[in-house]
């Protein structure tokens, strides 16, 4: 399997097969992060396509020593936020909570489907109240399992700041959920 650096070099040489391989490597991560912002799978695929197109066009300026995964996640976040702004808040804040409750599957196997779905919708309502940066930190940390160092690279801040962001995010979520209860 080619390394990210080898793939990037090949893509810069015009190798579209290498770009296909790169997309296969990161498409699920990009999609999952996108869908946690834009509510529905259809919107998430739009964003994912845009992310990879922008990545392809931006590879010329990508520094080889940089982390490709982190770079893609930054683009994903920017594009997700752009998408939310482009629709002028019509679906922003996850008014379409019902759809997103279906997107988040959860693993609450002991609960009834209805209850699990309600709990996911409740969580999403609370998530929607977080600012974009906090929301991204939560998605990367808890939904995608990235470590603090990777999240710090995406957010462009120190690990200490990232930990504080996560702490405040969860605290804010907890308060929102208490208010919703």
């Amino acid at each position: 399997m080619r390394s990210d650096t080898e793939l990037v070099d090949a893509i810069r040489g015009g190798d579209l097969e290498a770009f296909d391989e790169l997309m296969r490597r990161y498409e699920r991560l990009v999609y999952r992060v996108a869908v946690s912002f834009v509510s529905t799978p259809e919107n998430a695929f739009d964003v994912t396509q845009t992310v990879f197109l922008k990545a392809y066009r931006g590879l010329a300026g990508f520094r080889s020593e940089a982390n490709l995964k982190t770079w893609l996640l930054r683009i994903t976040h920017n594009e997700s936020v752009n998408w939310l702004r482009s629709i002028g808040g019509r679906e922003a804040g996850h008014e379409n909570i019902e759809a997103f409750a279906d997107v988040l599957t959860g693993r609450e196997s002991q609960e009834s489907d209805f209850l699990a779905r309600e709990r996911r919708a409740e969580l999403e309502r609370a998530m929607a109240k977080l600012n974009e940066r906090y929301r991204l930190a939560v998605v990367l940390r808890y939904f995608q399992g990235l470590d603090i160092a990777e999240i710090s690279a995406v957010l462009g801040c120190s690990e200490g700041v990232t930990k504080n962001i996560l702490f405040r995010s969860v605290k804010s979520l907890r308060e929102s959920l208490a208010g919703l209860a």
């Binding site: 097969e17 997309m23 699920r28 999609y31 396509q49 988040l104 709990r119 939560v138 939904f143």
Partner: protein
């Protein structure tokens, strides 16, 4: 919430990640037991970690990737080449992303599409034709060896090959649908189709036509298929035609090895003489040539093949 709670809640992630030492973990869990606020924080962390986004299907992701690749090719006509000319060929209505997988699977079912001449703008999602052609082209690009071709998820039938001029070949064949496409002779899809045609055991005519367009130096998989046809095909005409094509490329070690095998196993004197001519021109090691004809020596001492071979061996 006091400072102790803040400290405990910040440490919870590390407990989840099992990065806390035992003493610190005991302290944290003890605190959680006695502090409703921290217990709620702990419960929420667990809930967040258990919430995962639903997985997209492979078909949806395939459609997404195809859309990206096509957009790139549309924006970069120099690289688009063959695909752009094909885009016009498959202007069926835009398919739903979930259908994309079915389309690929359906590549094995009969159907036909013909080429039109007017280019069209790329639809938001992929069409049936795009998916199939992209997939077979990608598969052909990845099929480096003959064994890859044999194991390819696509097979081609009713293959027609014609010289299209300008260094290109026109290929017409069936996958799921008839494909009518003009490609450079060194395109991987051309090589794949020719290689499969050479292995086709049902039609001598198809094999002979495929051989006539097979330049063995272009693609190793075609050369390998030619070698197999020369050594194994049951039809003498096919074996001889394959050999004729192979010996057109001088000094090829793989061809030399194959021709040594011809000397060992082929009954036809004419093919064996052609093999010796090639090997002599390639300055093959005398011992190799001697080894290749040795099994026949008792019966073949006086035949033309033996005389020619030993003449070369003795001159070295």
């Amino acid at each position: 919430m006091n400072d102790k709670c803040v400290e405990m809640q910040k440490a919870m992630d590390e407990l989840f990640d099992e990065k806390l030492d035992e003493g610190r973990a005991d302290e944290l869990l003890g605190h959680i037991d006695g502090c409703p606020a921290c217990a709620a924080h702990w419960e929420l962390l667990g809930r967040l970690r258990s919430a995962t986004a639903a997985e997209p299907t492979d078909a949806e992701l395939l459609a997404m990737r195809r859309g990206v690749i096509r957009a790139i090719r549309t924006a970069e006509p120099k690289r688009a080449g063959w695909l752009e000319s094909l885009r016009a060929a498959f202007m069926s209505p835009v398919m739903g992303v979930g259908l994309a997988a079915l389309i690929v699977v359906a590549a094995f079912v009969a159907g036909r599409a013909t080429r039109e001449s007017t280019p069209v703008a790329a639809p938001a999602l992929v069409s049936a034709g795009d998916v199939i052609v992209d997939e077979i082209h990608l598969a052909a690009s990845k099929n480096r060896e003959l064994s890859d071709v044999e194991n390819s998820p696509f097979s081609y039938a009713n293959v027609e090959v014609e010289d299209a001029g300008g260094g290109k070949l026109a290929l017409r064949f069936d996958v799921s649908r008839h494909v009518d496409v003009v490609l450079p002779k060194n395109d991987p899809l051309v090589a794949d189709v020719l290689a499969q045609s050479l292995l086709d055991q049902t039609s001598v005519g198809t094999k002979l036509r495929a051989i006539s367009y097979s330049a063995p130096s272009v693609a190793p998989k075609v050369r390998e298929a030619l070698v197999r046809a020369m050594l194994e095909d049951t039809n003498l005409g096919v074996r001889m035609k394959a050999q004729e094509m192979l010996v057109a490329t001088p000094g090829d070690p793989a061809v030399e090895e194959a021709l040594l095998t011809v000397l060992k196993q082929e009954e036809t004197v004419q093919m064996r003489l052609v093999a010796i001519d090639y090997l002599m021109r390639s300055n093959v090691a005398p011992q190799k040539l001697r080894d290749a004809i040795t099994p026949r020596e008792p019966e073949a001492r006086v035949d033309a093949v033996y005389v020619k071979a030993m003449g070369y061996v003795n001159s070295k």
